[in-house]
């Protein structure tokens, strides 16, 4: 085994091994646990850096291991996987810092950080999966690793949220499994190959392929929270803030969206999907989800719930971009995978800070919070403006490319209204929050002030992560044309997918 075949495995192992060790640590060995967490995250950043460079230069990194005849566990780095791996790696590092600040005095830390690392390892494995079989394995592992995180607090609501989460995701996982097995029976082991592989199958299979596509999309749509499969997401926000942040930005929801991208581009092939008439259905589901999620977000007073419905809506931009045939739409969808991640994680970090510092859980309690916590609120504002699509924040780039792609593909007639309505709704549920935070006078006292203002407005480990990610969201928009930016990378993916 040389470096090229070991690298994908090492990238997964750099979070998996610390996680396994952490399970067996004493509850009070705070330093060792922090060291392991940060060392794992640091090593992963370095390894992923090497991987980005190599993939850009057409280097092949692949680990494979036979589990049974015809069932190979394959970890493979291509442009798309590297994009998702980089996002997960950077946000994991930031979220780990945040989680240490957020949780280090609460019970069951070894269990929490152990599963936290497993959750990231599953996400990375899913990103690097080289075939559908491997993807299914990590997709299910992600479900398993996330359940204890959602249930972590052990309150009746937490257990209920976790149960609902599990019911949805295991049900979806079962359909995904059936679809994947069926596909393997008629097409053999389905490796992810740029441009897809199924178009070579004879026409008599096309009927079956349509049913399989439906099974796979329902299975993936549960995690991606496509309406009407989104019911678990608002319930799962009972989880601790770092978990919600990771769940909404990287791990679970993104895994579903990433799977949709994978299946459309690298299993079916986008042109073949379009020939089968399946893209339109996906586009309609995405459009409904985008509008529905935003409408629901409008009426939520609970801040985390409002953000959760916003996720339902925003993640479907990725599916929408996938459903728009043509490289520009593809760029818009794929780049939003990254942009939505860094913006949404900022919002959840900020929401967590309000709750931890001042006991604020509701939008109606946020009057004047910008005066008390300016840095957090600034980060929140940048991310919220980005979600609406205001330049120069990253979200603008995504929407620009989606719109342009729709015009190029000749589907502007229905995509443009969706984009416009959704942006207006985004503004309608985010701007009042910003107005309250900056321009309203605070009440006589905060609901429950846990952390007094000292050198910073809150604990340092809680403050820096949203500031850093807000900076990233701004940078991804401002320097969108710089080499190795998310946009440039999405452009590279689109060129390789369409063979341009």
């Amino acid at each position: 085994m040389n470096f090229d075949t070991a690298l994908p495995l090492l990238v997964v192992a750099s979070s998996l091994l610390p996680g396994l060790v952490i399970f067996f640590l004493r509850e009070d060995s705070h330093r060792l646990r922090t060291l392991l967490n940060l060392a794992g995250a640091g090593v992963k950043v370095v390894l992923v850096g090497v991987m980005i460079w190599g993939v850009f230069h057409q280097h092949s990194y692949q680990t494979s291991w036979s589990l049974a005849p015809g069932l190979e566990l394959v970890l493979h780095a291509d442009t798309l996987s590297v994009l998702f791996v980089s996002l997960s790696t950077v946000l994991w590092l930031v979220t780990t810092v945040y989680a240490i600040g957020y949780l280090e005095k609460s019970p069951h830390r070894s269990r929490f950080f152990g599963f936290f690392s497993l959750c990231v390892s599953a996400t990375i494995g899913l990103a690097l999966a080289g075939n559908l079989f491997t993807f299914v394995i990590f997709y299910e592992l992600l479900t398993l690793a996330t359940y204890p995180l959602v249930a972590h607090r052990g309150t009746p609501e937490a257990l209920r949220g976790a149960r609902i989460y599990l019911a949805y995701t295991l049900g979806g996982g079962a359909l995904l499994l059936v679809g994947a097995v069926w596909l393997q029976v008629i097409a053999g082991p389905t490796a992810f190959i740029e441009g897809g592989v199924l178009s070579q199958l004879p026409a008599e299979y096309h009927g079956q392929l349509k049913v399989i596509f439906l099974l796979l999309m329902i299975g993936l749509g549960v995690k991606a929270a496509l309406v009407p499969l989104h019911g678990w997401l608002p319930q799962a926000m009972v989880a601790p803030a770092p978990v919600s942040a990771l769940l909404h930005a990287v791990a679970v929801v993104k895994a579903g969206a990433f799977g949709i991208v994978r299946v459309v581009y690298d299993v079916y092939g986008v042109n073949f999907t379009s020939e089968l008439g399946l893209l339109a259905g996906l586009g309609i589901a995405a459009a409904i989800t985008i509008v529905y999620g935003s409408m629901k977000a409008l009426s939520q007073d609970n801040l985390k719930k409002r953000l959760a419905y916003s996720t339902v809506s925003q993640v479907s931009y990725i599916a929408l971009g996938t459903a728009i045939l043509g490289p520009v739409g593809t760029i818009g969808g794929i780049v939003h995978l990254v942009h939505q991640g860094i913006m949404k994680i900022t919002l959840f970090f900020a929401a967590g800070n309000y709750a931890e510092t001042l006991g604020i859980h509701k939008v109606s309690e946020m009057n004047g919070v910008g005066q008390r916590m300016p840095a957090t609120t600034l980060a929140f504002s940048i991310a919220a403006l980005g979600m609406i699509g205001i330049p120069p924040v990253a979200g603008f780039i995504s929407k620009w490319y989606l719109g342009l792609g729709a015009i190029e593909a000749g589907v502007a007639g229905w995509v443009m209204p969706v984009l416009i309505i959704s942006s207006l709704l985004n503004a309608a549920y985010f701007l009042p929050v910003l107005y309250r935070a900056w321009f309203c006078q605070p009440g006589p006292a905060w609901p429950a002030e846990h952390i007094p203002a000292a050198r910073y407005e809150t604990a340092g480990a809680l403050l820096w992560p949203p500031v850093v990610t807000a900076g990233l969201a701004l940078a991804a928009g401002l320097f969108a044309a710089a080499p190795y930016s998310p946009l440039e990378w999405a452009d590279l993916i689109a060129r390789r997918e369409y063979g341009l």
Binding site: H108, Y147, V178
Partner: protein, 478 residues
């Protein structure tokens, strides 16, 4: 290398006799025996994978007069699983039975059970199979009654009667075969049986007896009380190994010896009973209030999956697809063996620590014993069939074979059973979260928690990630 076959029977038997004669030294005797027997099983697995199938005639007498032992890939795998499960359970039992008198009563029977399992898996003719089956049943009943309470004795008595009835039916079938064909040797028999009434009747009788012993729905009624009231280490081997021994015989008869007689309709009957077992067993497991009963009903359900393979194997032509399915069947059986043994051991720890195994009142216990709870979680993952457990690979093959043969019903049953299993497993695991006091270290009772953890990890990680050799070994037929 063929001598390893006789050692597999001789070592545990000698240990049993020694433990009976020297009760004070029985624990060290068992330690040595268990390690030695496991090493022999490992050697045999290696020898079979290197040299193909092995056989040994005791005393040099050939079949017909003497006793001959034989091992192929399937029996070597099951012998290995028996050894690992029995070894881990022995370590556990030494701590579980904390009175010397209890241990002295337990060990000889325990090694006798191990001996009869090994002998059964190595036997190549129907009469020896009958004898070993009877021996296995009797030692299992004796062990199950060790619980000492009225319920345990009642359940054990019922277990005894059912076991005897099963053996009688098996014996009746064996006599018919001997009357009809004049031989009981399995490989000779495979060449001479023809599709005629005597063979059908014999197969039907033997199968019925074995189905009773392997507790296939609706003949499972005796299993939950027997497995749920026995001491934890006994429940572990009853569920993991003893019912598997009867299943192993069904497999041998239907796939090897009487393969030409089996009609699709007959295979379908087994499949439908298996489907009934999955749904009914899982449902009862979901509705019960006690952990041990849950585990016992889950055994009923898990055995059902194994029977779903019969109609599939009947429909698949010989070739790679059928070989994959056979491997899937075996890995499912092995995974269940490890997972269920570990699960029963973990439940035993909970029962000892708080004196009950009531699911509703688990909160404090589940949090005081993180390692035990983790073992239950790992076992649960294998029971549901989620990756990376071996059961996931098995279910993948099961679903693939169903698609390949167009038998869609089994897919629905498999998925429904898996979701029900998820429901009963996570109903238990929900109690692991909360604000009860919990220890600084995850492992608090090393000698009992490690065996449970290792067995369940074997089911999830060992077979799931390193299970590919199972398919290679299954190519080595009898």
């Amino acid at each position: 290398m063929a001598e390893t076959l006789i050692w597999l029977v001789a070592v545990p038997l000698a240990g049993a006799v020694a433990a009976l004669l020297l009760p004070r030294q029985s624990t060290p005797i068992v330690s040595v025996t268990a390690v030695a027997a496991s090493l022999v099983a490992g050697t045999l697995l290696y020898a079979v994978s290197e040299q193909g199938r092995l056989s040994y005639e005791i005393g040099g007498w050939s079949a017909g007069l003497g006793i001959s032992l034989r091992a192929d890939g399937l029996s070597a795998l099951l012998l290995m699983m028996t050894a690992l499960v029995a070894l881990a359970t022995s370590v556990y039992a030494a701590a579980y039975f904390n009175k010397a008198a209890d241990r002295a009563r337990f060990w000889p029977l325990w090694l006798l059970l191990w001996t009869s399992l090994n002998a059964l898996l190595l036997s190549g003719d129907l009469f020896n199979l009958y004898v070993t089956l009877e021996l296995l049943g009797l030692s299992a009943v004796a062990l199950a009654s060790l619980g000492g309470k009225t319920a345990a004795v009642q359940a054990a008595l019922r277990y005894l009667l059912v076991g005897l009835l099963g053996s009688m039916m098996f014996l009746a079938g064996v006599s018919l075969i001997y009357a009809g064909y004049g031989t009981l040797d399995l490989s000779t028999l495979a060449g001479v049986v023809a599709a005629e009434p005597v063979a059908w009747t014999a197969l039907a009788l033997m199968t019925a007896g074995l189905l009773l012993k392997t507790a296939l729905f609706p003949l499972h009624f005796w299993l939950p009380p027997a497995h749920a009231s026995a001491p934890a280490p006994v429940s572990a081997v009853l569920s993991a190994l003893v019912v598997k021994a009867a299943f192993y015989l069904v497999l041998r008869l239907w796939l090897d010896v009487f393969a030409d007689l089996v009609t699709p309709a007959a295979a379908n009957v087994l499949g439908i009973l298996g489907a009934g077992a999955i749904i009914w067993g899982s449902w009862r497991a979901l509705r019960t209030e006690r952990l041990k009963v849950l585990a016992a009903y889950s055994t009923v359900a898990q055995l059902g999956y194994l029977f779903l393979f019969f109609p599939l194997l009947q429909a698949l032509p010989p070739g790679p697809a059928r070989d994959s399915a056979v491997g899937g069947l075996v890995i499912l059986a092995l995974t269940h063996g490890f997972a269920k043994a570990g699960l029963f051991l973990a439940i035993g720890i909970i029962q000892q620590r708080c004196g009950h195994d009531n699911i509703r009142e688990l909160d404090g216990t589940a949090q005081r014993l993180p390692a035990t709870t983790f073992a239950i979680a790992l076992g649960g993952v294998a029971l549901i069939g989620l990756p990376p457990s071996g059961a996931f690979l098995g279910k993948w093959q099961l679903i693939a074979a169903s698609f390949a043969t167009g038998q869609w019903l089994w897919i629905l049953v498999t998925i429904a059973g898996s979701l029900l299993a998820a429901a009963y497993v996570f109903r238990v695991l929900g109690h692991a979260f909360g604000h009860q006091p919990y220890p600084q270290r995850p492992v608090t009772m090393a000698r009992e928690e490690w065996p449970a953890l290792i067995l369940t990890a074997m089911a999830v990680l060992g077979l799931g990630l390193a299970g590919a050799p199972v398919w290679d070994l299954m190519e080595i037929g009898a």
